[in-house]
C-alpha cells in the first residue's frame, strides 16, 4: 500500500468500533449505581460489582477490562497511523519545516483527533476509573474515523502544506487546542454520565428537548444567516439523529434495568470528574487558542485578533467554559437544586460550543480558517 497511514486508520476504525461495543456492554451489563470513591484510584472501582438481579452469563464477563485492552490496541493502531501520516506529510512538503503534525486537511485533523482524544481518555480512565465515559469517547472516535473515511473527505494523498500553515506556532497552537478538546471530550462523556444519573426519570424529556434545540438551531436559526450545502447538512443531521436515537435507546434500555436510587456521593464524584476534566482542558484550550493562535495569526495575517468567525467561535467556547468554571465556583457542585444541575448543563453547552467552533463553523461560514 502506498500510504501505510491509511491502512492503519482503517484498522483503528474497526478496532474503535469493537472497543465502543465493549464499553457499551460494560455500561449496560454492570450495575453502576454504587458509590465510587476517587481515592480508589488504581483499584478496580466498586462500579464493577455485578448487579444482584443480573447474574446471567453475559454479565459475569468483565467487559470493562476487555474494553480497556481493546482501547489500548486501537490506540496502537492510530498512533502508528499518525506517525506514518506525519512522515508522509513531511515528504509531500519536502520538509520545508522540520516537523509538522498532520493537521492540514480535514482528513488529517479528524484522524489526529481520533488518536489524541482516546489517548487522553485513557489517562482519565486510569486516574478516575469510571468506564462509562468510554462509551461516548470511543463512540466519538469511531464516528470521526468513519467520517474521515467517507468519500467526501477521502483518505486522500498527503499534499504540500500551504504557506500559511508553515509555522511552528501553528503546530503549537493546534496541538494545545486538541489536547484541550480531548479533555473537554472526556469531561463531556462524564457530564453525560452525570446528567443521566441526576435526572433519572426526567432524562428522556430533557434529552428530547436537547435534540429539539440542536435540530431547531440547525434547521431554523442557522439557515437564516447562511446558505448551506444541502448534502453536507443532510448528512450531519442524519448522523445526529442516528446518534441521538442510539443514545436514547441505550438510556431507555439501561433505565429499565435499574431500580435502586443513585447515591448522592456517586453523583458528586462523577461531577468532580467533569470539573477536573474541564478545568484541565480549559488552560490548554484557552492558551492554545487565544495566546498561541494569536501569535501565529499575527505572523501570518498581520493581526493577533481579527474577529474572524473561527477565532470568534473559539473565544465563545473559552468564554462558555469560563462561565462554567465561575458558576461552579460560586454555585458549587454540592447544590442538589437547580443550580447544581445548571452547572452540568453549562458543561454540555461548552461542549456544543467546542463542536460548533471545531466543525460547525466550517459548514456555515466562510473563514480564513476553513482548512481545518
Amino acid at each position: 500500500m502506498r500510504y501505510p497511514s491509511v491502512f492503519f486508520f482503517y484498522l483503528s476504525t474497526l478496532s474503535y468500533l469493537v472497543t465502543f461495543v465493549l464499553y457499551l456492554l460494560h455500561a449496560v451489563l454492570k450495575n453502576s449505581s454504587h458509590p465510587v470513591s476517587l481515592a480508589d484510584k488504581g483499584r478496580e472501582p466498586r462500579l464493577g460489582i455485578v448487579a444482584s438481579g443480573a447474574a446471567g452469563s453475559l454479565s459475569s464477563i468483565d467487559w470493562g477490562r476487555w474494553a480497556t485492552r481493546s482501547l489500548i490496541v486501537s490506540l496502537v493502531f492510530s498512533t502508528l497511523g499518525v506517525l506514518f501520516r506525519s512522515i508522509e506529510l513531511g515528504n509531500a512538503s519536502q520538509w520545508v519545516k522540520a516537523f509538522f503534525l498532520p493537521l492540514s486537511t480535514t482528513y488529517e485533523t479528524l484522524t489526529f483527533f481520533s488518536w489524541l482524544i482516546p489517548l487522553v481518555y485513557l489517562w482519565v480512565e486510569r486516574k478516575f476509573g469510571v468506564k462509562q465515559i468510554g462509551v461516548f469517547v470511543t463512540g466519538a472516535a469511531f464516528v470521526m474515523l468513519s467520517v474521515a473515511a467517507s468519500p467526501s473527505f477521502a483518505p486522500s494523498a498527503p499534499t504540500g502544506v500551504p504557506a500559511s500553515l508553515q509555522s511552528y506556532w501553528l503546530t503549537t497552537h493546534v496541538l494545545f487546542m486538541v489536547i484541550g478538546i480531548a479533555f473537554f471530550t472526556s469531561g463531556f462523556g462524564a457530564t453525560l454520565v452525570y446528567l443521566w444519573r441526576r435526572y433519572q426519570k426526567k432524562l428522556f424529556l430533557l434529552f428530547g428537548a436537547l435534540l429539539g434545540v440542536i435540530g431547531g438551531i440547525i434547521f431554523g436559526v442557522i439557515p437564516l444567516f447562511a446558505t448551506l450545502q444541502p448534502l453536507k447538512m443532510a448528512a450531519s443531521v442524519a448522523l445526529l439523529i442516528a446518534l441521538g436515537a442510539g443514545f436514547g435507546w441505550l438510556l431507555l434500555f439501561v433505565h429499565r434495568r435499574e431500580h435502586q436510587p443513585v447515591s448522592w456521593e456517586y453523583l458528586e464524584n462523577i461531577e468532580e470528574i467533569v470539573y477536573r476534566c474541564n478545568a484541565i482542558g480549559f488552560p490548554f484550550y484557552a492558551i492554545g487558542g487565544l495566546v498561541f493562535g494569536g501569535i501565529w495569526a499575527e505572523q501570518a495575517w498581520s493581526r493577533y485578533w481579527g474577529w474572524d468567525p473561527k477565532e470568534t467561535a473559539m473565544l465563545v467556547t473559552a468564554v462558555v467554559y469560563a462561565v462554567y468554571l465561575h458558576a461552579r465556583l460560586t454555585w458549587g457542585n454540592r447544590d442538589p437544586g437547580w443550580r447544581g444541575g445548571l452547572v452540568g448543563w453549562l458543561s454540555v453547552l461548552g461542549y456544543f460550543a467546542v463542536l460548533y467552533a471545531w466543525i460547525g463553523i466550517n459548514y456555515f461560514v466562510a473563514s480564513l480558517h476553513s482548512f481545518v
Partner: protein, 476 residues
C-alpha cells in the same frame, strides 16, 4: 448628603463586584460573538457580497442593526466597557481578599480540631526526643516551611499560589488594554505593489522598495509552497538593508511590520485592455490599447475613449451595481466611456470578451436606450503581477504579549500549585498529623500519603491501641 453618596458608591461597588454580573456580561459577549460568526463582518466582506446574499433590503436592515459590524457596535462596546469595569472591580476586591489571606498567620490547632480535618492520622506510643526534629527535616525536604509553636510543628508551602488567579485576571485586563492601544494608536494599510514600487509609509522616516517577488511551487506539483517578496529599506536616500519576506515571516523595522499577504494578477488596478471599436454602421476604426483609468484619442474620428474600470469576473447585484465576483479571469468586462473633444459624453457601455455576454449586453442596451454611435468589443487584456503587502504599526502588540505571558503563568500557577498546610501535634504519647490543601481536598490525598510513608519510618513502631489503629480518613 455625603451619606447618600456613600450609599450609592457602595451599591455601585457591590454591583460591579458581583460574579453574577460577570456571568451575565460574559454570556452577552459570547452571544454577540456567536451572532458575529453567523453574519459575515464588514472587515472581510464586500458590500456587493452582502447584497448578493441577503438582498438590498436585508442588507439595509442588518446595517441599521449594526450586525454587519457587531464588534464595533455601540452595544458590544458598551458591554465590553461594563465588563472591563467589572473585571477591574473584581480583581481589586479579590486582591484584597488574597492579601488578607497572605497575611493570615497559620495557627496551632487543638488535637480535636486536627481530627476534624479531612486528612489526618495519629500514632500512639512513647516518643523519642529527636522525633520532632526528624519530622521537621522530612517536611523541609518536601519544600515546606516549618515553624514550631509549643508542642506543634506548623508547616506550609505555596501560600502565594492564591495570587495566581489574580495575576491571571490582571493579565486579562492588560490584554484588553493592549487591544485598546492597537485600536486607538495602531494603523494598518494594504499595499498592492509592482516590481520596483517605492512605498512611503505614513509617519515613517523610511521607504520600502519592492525589488522583486516570486512564488515557489512544490516539486512536480501545482501547489504553491510559498510566496516571497524582496524588500529594501531606504532611509534618507540610503539603503539600510534588504530582506526577503514570506508568509509567516514578516519584516519588522522601527515598529512597522510588513507581511506577505497576497499575490496575483492586478486586474482591477492596472489591467491593460485592447479594444476593437467600430461605428454603428460597421466601419472598423481599429484596435486600441489602454490602461485602466486612462484613455486614448482617435484623431480621425475626433473622439476620446476612456477605460473606466476593468472587472475580471463581471456580475450585477440585484440593484444593478457591477462588481467582480472573483479575481479570476472568468467573465472579463471593461467599462468604456466615449467623449467628443469638447468633453461631452457621447455614450457609455460595457465591453465584454465573451461573445454571448457582448451580444446580450448590446441587445439589452439597444432596447433600453436606443442605438449607440459606436460598438466596442474587448479583444485583449493583460495585467502585471502584484504582491500584496499588509503593513501595520501596532503599539498594542508588546502590551498584549506581556499580558499573554502572565495569563499563561497565572493559569499554570492556579492549576498546579495549591496552598498546603500540615500540622504535627506532638503530645505526651501521641502524634497527630493533619493536613489540608486549599480548594483541592481530594488531590491532596497523594501528597499526604507520601508524607505519611516517610514519617512512619520515624515515629514509634509499638503496637498501637486497638481502637486507634492507623485511623485514617480520606473522603467525606
Amino acid at each position: 448628603m455625603s451619606a447618600f453618596f456613600k450609599e450609592i458608591a457602595q451599591d455601585l461597588y457591590r454591583f460591579f463586584t458581583s460574579i453574577t454580573l460577570a456571568i451575565v456580561l460574559i454570556s452577552l459577549i459570547a452571544l454577540f460573538s456567536f451572532v458575529g460568526t453567523l453574519i459575515p463582518q464588514e472587515a472581510f466582506t464586500r458590500e456587493v457580497d452582502y447584497i448578493a446574499r441577503f438582498g438590498f433590503e436585508g442588507y439595509q436592515i442588518l446595517k441599521q442593526l449594526q450586525l454587519t459590524n457587531i464588534f464595533g457596535s455601540w452595544y458590544f462596546l458598551f458591554v465590553m466597557a461594563l465588563f472591563t469595569l467589572n473585571l477591574t472591580a473584581c480583581t481589586v476586591k479579590r486582591l484584597r481578599a488574597s492579601w488578607r489571606y497572605w497575611k493570615l498567620p497559620m495557627l496551632a490547632l487543638s488535637p480535636e480540631a486536627l481530627q476534624r480535618l479531612e486528612h489526618w492520622r495519629s500514632w500512639e506510643g512513647p516518643i523519642a526526643p529527636e522525633t520532632a526534629q526528624r519530622i521537621e527535616r522530612v517536611l523541609q525536604r518536601r519544600g515546606y516551611r516549618v515553624r514550631r509553636e509549643s508542642s506543634q510543628l506548623l508547616a506550609e508551602k505555596w501560600r502565594w499560589e492564591r495570587f495566581g488567579i489574580d495575576l491571571f485576571h490582571i493579565a486579562l485586563l492588560v490584554v484588553i488594554f493592549g487591544g485598546l492601544a492597537t485600536m486607538l494608536w495602531g494603523f494598518r494599510t494594504f499595499e498592492i505593489a509592482h516590481k520596483g514600487s517605492l512605498i512611503q509609509l505614513p509617519g515613517a522616516d523610511f521607504q520600502l522598495r519592492v525589488n522583486r517577488f516570486w512564488s515557489e511551487n512544490y516539486k512536480d506539483s501545482e501547489r504553491v509552497m510559498d510566496w516571497h517578496t524582496e524588500l529594501t529599506v531606504i532611509e534618507n536616500g540610503r539603503e539600510v538593508f534588504t530582506q526577503t519576506i514570506e508568509v509567516n515571516a514578516p519584516l519588522r523595522y522601527k515598529g512597522y511590520n510588513v507581511y506577505q499577504s497576497a499575490f496575483g494578477t492586478d486586474w482591477q488596478g492596472a489591467a491593460n485592455v485592447t479594444l476593437a471599436i467600430s461605428r454603428a454602421d460597421g466601419t472598423e476604426l481599429g484596435e486600441f490599447t489602454s490602461t485602466v483609468n486612462e484613455g486614448f484619442e482617435i484623431p480621425n474620428e475626433k473622439i476620446f475613449v476612456k477605460v473606466g474600470a476593468f472587472l475580471p469576473d463581471f456580475a450585477l447585484t440585484e440593484n444593478l451595481i457591477a462588481y467582480s465576483r472573483t479575481q479570476r479571469l472568468e467573465n472579463p468586462g471593461a467599462y468604456i466611456e466615449i467623449f467628443d473633444l469638447n468633453g461631452t459624453r457621447l455614450m457609455r457601455t460595457w465591453a465584454f470578451a465573451r461573445t454571448d455576454m457582448q451580444q446580450f449586453w448590446e441587445s439589452s442596451m439597444a432596447r433600453v436606450s436606443g442605438a449607440s454611435p459606436y460598438r466596442v468589443r474587448l479583444v485583449g487584456m493583460t495585467a502585471p503581477e502584484f504582491t500584496g503587502l499588509q503593513i501595520t504599526k501596532d503599539p498594542g502588540r508588546p502590551i498584549v504579549y506581556f499580558g499573554f505571558l502572565f495569563v499563561v503563568l497565572g493559569l499554570l500557577v492556579h492549576l498546579y500549585f495549591k496552598h498546603q498546610q500540615i500540622w504535627v501535634y506532638l503530645g505526651e504519647n501521641r502524634i497527630i498529623i493533619g493536613g489540608m490543601a486549599r480548594n483541592r481536598p481530594r488531590a491532596f490525598v497523594h501528597e499526604f500519603e507520601r508524607l505519611l510513608k516517610e514519617i512512619e519510618q520515624i515515629v514509634p513502631k509499638e503496637e498501637p491501641e486497638p481502637c486507634a489503629t492507623l485511623v485514617s480518613s480520606s473522603s467525606t
